[in-house]
């Protein structure tokens, strides 16, 4: 296996890790008003992602940095080409981080309400736009021999990409609902569980349509298998949640996201950004890559440090494994009745 292929695989893994992990915290953010009817429930809801969301987001930063290092031409064309779309995502991620960190700093209900609105919006926007972006990468963009993106912002808003966006939005909402059901007890748990069937049904429809459409670009036996496995996991997740097996349901949605991402990246390979102008102008794992020497150093660093990172991130999830409920939220004595 060539180093360029290994790095394509690693970047696919980083993106998959990002989508699986931040997927549920986007979902929790979007569902905040639906599962958190009062101030205490909303605190319970946000507390489920509090210790981990920032670590989840670092997967994106490492995916971005690794793309820069391993495939600088991919990084340069993609981020300059998707300029305004990326700007919207960045603004949302900035607002989201600030909202999550600053919301709890003051004990004031109008302060909370405002930040809650920001959390909902800034969780939904990237959840939608990452799907749009990934779909556009798989489908390809107008691009000449100079590897410069030749479209504009509206080129990115084609029906296939929008369907991709709706799919990730719904999938993350479902993933978040199931995560909440797994991580809480009491009212937040019950409401989250009630949201699973309707969101689940919509997700099945959107995801099936999106993955089937993806096959139209470059379907192979392998991608069909992956897409079917994703569909099976999704249905399995819904079934598990119906029978109260919340841990398995969460494994199911995580696997759905991972397999859907695998379908997309397998469809994409060996391109990293296909050109719809002429296939000869496509960016591939070979012509977008860094030199062998750089890839070799990066591989050593990744091999040594990735297990360490996985170990301590896993430890965080283990430390905060307990289900949360209203009794876990500190309420000043005089506030309990209100």
């Amino acid at each position: 296996m060539a180093l360029t292929d290994i790095w394509f695989l690693l970047i696919a893994v980083l993106w998959t890790g990002y989508l699986v992990l931040e997927g549920f915290d986007f979902g929790v953010g979007m569902l905040l008003p639906f599962v958190g009817r009062d101030a205490v429930d909303r605190k319970v809801t946000l507390r489920t992602i509090g210790p981990v969301w920032d670590g989840n987001e670092v997967w994106l930063l490492v995916a971005g940095g690794a793309t820069f290092a391993a495939f600088p031409f991919w990084y340069a064309t993609l981020f300059s080409g998707f300029y305004l779309a990326l700007l919207i995502i960045l603004v949302a991620l900035i607002l989201r981080g600030i909202a999550l960190e600053y919301r709890g700093k003051l004990d004031d209900s109008s302060w909370h309400r405002r930040w809650d609105l920001v959390i909902v919006g800034s969780s939904a926007v990237p959840a939608l736009l990452w799907g749009v972006a990934l779909a556009n990468i798989v489908r390809g963009v107008p691009m000449g021999a100079d590897h410069e993106f030749a479209g504009n912002f509206f080129t990115l808003l084609n029906p296939y990409a929008l369907l991709g966006g709706v799919t990730t939005l719904l999938l993350f909402a479902l993933h978040g609902a199931i995560f909440l059901a797994l991580k809480t007890h009491g009212e937040v748990h019950d409401r989250a569980l009630k949201l699973v069937p309707p969101i689940g049904l919509a997700t099945v429809v959107a995801a099936a349509a999106f993955l089937a459409w993806t096959q139209a670009f470059d379907g192979s036996a392998l991608t069909w298998t992956l897409a079917l496995a994703a569909a099976l996991c999704l249905i399995g997740a819904l079934a598990a949640s119906r029978f109260g097996r919340e841990g398995w349901a969460f494994v199911g949605t995580a696997a759905t996201i991972a397999l859907a991402a695998a379908t997309l990246f397998t469809t994409l390979y060996p391109n990293v950004l296909p050109s719809t102008t002429d296939a000869a102008f496509s960016l591939t794992t070979v012509n977008a890559a860094s030199t062998h020497y750089t890839l070799k150093i990066m591989t050593w660093v990744a091999v040594i440090f990735t297990p360490v990172v996985l170990a301590y991130q896993g430890y965080t999830y283990w430390v905060f494994r307990k289900r949360l409920g209203r009794t876990d939220i500190y309420q000043p004595a005089e506030k309990v009745t209100s």
Partner: protein
């Protein structure tokens, strides 16, 4: 303005803004870790309260540092795609390694520290904040290594077939002598910033209510002032080393810092020059004879090259064009950077002296307490503006000019949109952040006793 000017303004605004928060994070994480260690070792409630008080302010600052950092990583691809293609083989690696080694460490263990209060084993909880502090150090090193490569590229070969710079010695990138000097200088500046931040807030509390706030803020004033003074000494030493390396690697930057137009031996150090700074006329100036020679070469009569002579030399080497940075800007930012550091240290020294003599509060000391956290922020910003403007017109010294690094497919409209959106957003964030900082800086934490039931305890940091 066209896309290139807008992209340059955007880079400047976004980066200087980000760097208001970074030094506080670097310095404060270590100071908070130190206080937490004192609490762990002595078990004294005083230290628990101090850890919480300063920890809260640290977290408010950290949040903005993190979110503005996301833009930093993506803007190379967004606005500077030609640069990214040209140097990606070299520049991308430290960025990716920073993410893997530093960001994961910082964010994961900060989550553990915030939410692990009263829940984690005490040793693990203490280790968490130290790992955050170590993460910030690693982060600073890799970023400064990437930046230093742009200042003085080493360990690469230019491949004319692919038209890009290619890495052949990663060790040379990580041990570039510019980063070896810049890293300690930046870390010293970060401790100066954090020390002054602590000193200013603690001094204000102490002067207002010396009796009841004394136990909590008297040690903080001492810690802040001593940190500031040690950092100031380290800044002078590292700054001096950096100046010598700069003279060697980027003589034009040194010449511009002094507005020295003609090669001189010995060269004087200009404390202040009133004039046009374009070398044509000098109205009045105050100079230390031999000063620049010593600063730049460690000898009293050393030769320092002037702007005009370097311009001629560069034209012969790189072809026609101007190789002069903006001289008034470099001249003044260099001076005011030093002045900001000196003033900060002076206030720290006076505060310590006042405290020893147990004097009553005086008006000027309160004013100084309010000013002292701001001075290093100004110094840090000016330092970076000097460093980056001083190497112009180069984005990578001797290899690529800034105007050639911009994204060819991004129009001025897009850059202007993002410039306006991000500037407004950052403006709003600044207001919210200052509001929260002032609120928590004023609030004196209540006396608490060790809770008997950790599950029922008020969390140290509400979420």
């Amino acid at each position: 303005m066209d896309a290139i000017d807008l992209a340059r303004w955007q880079f400047g605004i976004i980066t200087v803004y980000h760097f208001l928060f970074v030094p506080i994070t670097i310095g404060m994480s270590a100071l908070v870790a130190g206080l937490h260690t004192a609490w762990y070792r002595t078990g004294k409630q005083k230290y628990r309260r101090m850890t919480q008080f300063w920890g809260k302010l640290f977290l408010i600052n950290f949040a903005i540092g993190v979110v503005t950092g996301i833009v930093q990583e993506f803007q190379f691809g967004m606005n500077w795609s030609s640069y990214s293609k040209f140097v990606g083989d070299i520049f991308g690696a430290p960025l990716a390694i920073e993410g893997l080694l530093a960001f994961f460490l910082e964010s994961t263990f900060l989550g553990l520290w915030i939410f692990g209060w009263d829940r984690l084993p005490k040793k693990v909880h203490l280790a968490s904040i130290w790992l955050v502090a170590i993460g910030t150090q690693l982060s600073a090193y890799f970023i400064l290594a990437a930046n230093s490569w742009m200042q003085w590229p080493r360990g690469y070969t230019y491949n004319s077939a692919t038209g890009r710079a290619e890495l052949h010695d990663f060790g040379a990138v990580l041990t570039n002598k510019v980063v070896l000097a810049t890293y300690p200088h930046t870390i010293a500046a970060s401790f100066l910033t954090a020390g002054a931040f602590m000193l200013g807030i603690a001094l204000w509390h102490l002067l207002r209510r010396p009796g009841e706030n004394g136990s909590l803020f008297r040690p903080a004033v001492k810690l802040g002032a001593i940190t500031t003074l040690v950092a100031a000494a380290a800044l002078m030493i590292t700054g001096d080393i950096q100046a010598k390396i700069m003279t060697d690697t980027q003589p034009m930057k040194m010449a511009a810092a002094e507005a020295l137009y003609d090669t001189s031996a010995p060269a004087p150090f200009s404390i202040l020059t009133i004039g046009s700074l374009d070398g044509s006329k000098e109205v009045w100036s105050l100079k230390v004879p031999h000063g620049l020679s010593f600063l730049a070469t460690s000898t009293w009569n050393g030769k320092v090259e002037g702007i005009n002579n370097l311009q001629t030399a560069y034209e012969q080497r790189f072809g026609p064009g101007s190789y002069k940075p903006n001289v008034p800007l470099t001249y003044w930012t260099f001076r005011f950077m030093i002045l900001a550091g000196v003033l900060t240290a002076a206030i720290a020294l006076l505060a310590l002296w006042q405290l020893r003599r147990q004097r009553k509060s005086s008006k000027w000391l309160i004013r100084a307490a309010l000013a002292v956290p701001l001075l290093p922020l100004l110094g840090n910003s000016l330092g970076w503006i000097f460093t980056e403007m001083g190497r112009q017109p180069w984005i990578v010294f001797g290899l690529m000019q800034t105007r050639d690094g911009v994204s060819p497919s991004v129009g001025a409209g897009s850059v202007l949109t993002s410039l306006i959106v991000l500037t407004l957003l950052y403006g709003v964030l600044a207001v919210v952040e200052v509001f929260l900082l002032l609120r928590f800086a004023r609030e004196v934490p209540a006396e608490t006793t060790e809770p008997s039931d950790p599950e029922a305890a008020e969390p140290a940091f509400l979420y």
